[in-house]
Chain length 136, copies 4
C-alpha cells in the first residue's frame, strides 16, 4: 500500500493562469514526505529533530511537471522511498488529480545528528519504517 | 454545528523559535474560510470566481495571537459568519490545538461581480449558506 | 524620515483575480518590520533571537485593504513604531504602489527573553532605535 | 555580465534548524528568473501573460542544495539561460551567500500562447533577450 497524502488546493495557490503556481508544488511534495514520516514514525521532521536529535536536510530535488494542478479536485500525493544509503534516503513523490499524474519528483535527504549537523547512519526506527515501504 | 477545518502544521511552518511563524496564521485562517465555502457552496473562491462570476475580496483582517502553534497537535480552525451586510460578510476564525485557543480573528469580505470588480448584493446561494451558520 | 522597504511583487504572489493574494500581504508587512529592525539594529529577528537572546512574538495584527496590489509597480512599505510599552511595541505598516495607499496595518509585538519565552523590559539597544522613529 | 537578483532572507524563511527551509529555495529561484525577465523584457511573467499573451509554464526543475542559507548575509541569485529550443528555454540559477555557492538549479519553461495554453515558437522579443545572455 503506497502512502497517500491529500492536499486541498486553494484560490491562493493559483496564479493568474488559473492553475497552481509552480512554486507551490515542491512545497506540497515536502509536506507529503513529512506526512509520510509522521504516519510511519509517529512524528515528522519537527518531532525527529526535537525529540530524537535527528535532522534530515535535503541535498537534491528534481520535479517533472506533467499536467496543471487546480482547485477542482483533491490533490493526492503518493510518497514512497526508492533508495536507502548508509546516511541518505531518496523519496519519490507523485501528485495525482482525478486520476491524472500532474507531477512526479525525486527528493534526497541525508540523515544527520541535529545538534551537530553531522551525518549519521540511518537510525533503526527510521530504517525500519523506510525498508517496509521500499518497492519490491 | 460549527464548521471545523483541520490543518497539519509542519516543520516548514515553524521558525527558529520552534513555533509556527506568525505569517502562516493569516494564511491558515484564509484557507479555513475557503474550506467553509467549499463545504457549504460546493466550491471555494476559485469555483465562485470562475463558475459564478462572484469575487470575494478582503477589506479587513484582525487577529489576536493567544498561544503558540506547533506541529505537536492538529490545528483545528473553527469558522463561522458573524455578520451579513448587503454586499459584505464577516467571518470569525478560531484556531485550537489540543483544546487550547491559539488565535482568533475577524475577516471581512465584500462580494463583487468578478468580471467587473464591482460590489454586488450577496447572491442567494451564498446568503442561504451564510444565514444557516450565523450564531443564534 | 520614515523607513521604507521595497518589495517586488511577482506572478506567484497573484491569484486568478490578477491581483496579489490577500494572504501575501501580512507576510510582506512582517518582512517590512523585520527589514526595519535589520536596518536600525544591525540585524532582524533572526539575529536578535540568536545573538541577543531577544524574542519578539506577535500578539496582534490588524490590516485594512484599501486597493489591489499588482506586479505593475514596486510595493513600497513604510514602517514606523507608534507606541512603546514596557515590554511591547506597536508598528504601523503602510503599503503604497505608484502613490496609492494599498493597505495599512497595526502590529503588536511583545519582547521576550528568547530562551525562556518570558516577557522582558525592552532592552536599551531596541528602545533607542524605536524611540528615534516614533512620530513626533 | 551575469544577472544577479538579491534576496533578503528573513526569520520566517527559517525553520527550527535555524537555516532557510528547503521549500523556500525553489521559490527564490523562480523569483530570480522572474526578475531576470523583468530586467530584460521590461516585465516579468505577469506582464508577459497579460500584455503579450505569452505564458511560460515550467515542465522541469532540478536543484542541488550545497550549503545552508541563513539571514546572516544577502542571498545573491545569479540567473542565465543555458539552452534555447524552438519553444522552450532552460535557466540556470545559482544562489550565493558571502561567496559560498549554496544551491544551483536547472529550470525548463515552455513558451505558450497564454490564452490557449498552446506551445508557440519563442517570440522575437524574448529570444533576443535570452540569446544576449547565453554563455559564450
Amino acid at each position: 500500500m503506497t502512502f497517500e497524502h491529500e492536499i486541498m488546493v486553494g484560490w491562493g495557490d493559483c496564479d493568474p493562469a488559473k492553475i497552481a503556481y509552480t512554486g507551490r508544488i515542491p512545497n506540497w511534495c515536502l509536506d507529503s514526505i513529512n506526512a509520510f514520516l509522521h504516519a510511519h514514525l509517529g512524528g515528522g521532521w519537527f518531532v525527529q529533530e526535537l525529540d530524537n536529535d535527528m535532522g534530515m536536510p535535503f541535498v537534491h530535488m528534481s520535479i517533472d511537471f506533467r499536467a496543471p494542478v487546480t482547485p477542482r479536485h483533491p490533490l493526492i500525493c503518493r510518497v514512497f522511498p526508492t533508495k536507502l544509503g548508509t546516511a541518505s534516503v531518496t523519496f519519490q513523490v507523485e501528485g495525482f488529480q482525478n486520476g491524472t499524474l500532474c507531477f512526479q519528483g525525486t527528493f534526497v535527504e541525508v540523515v544527520t545528528v541535529a545538534s551537530t549537523f553531522e551525518k549519521q547512519t540511518i537510525p533503526a526506527h527510521l530504517r525500519r519504517a523506510l525498508e517496509a515501504h521500499l518497492p519490491s
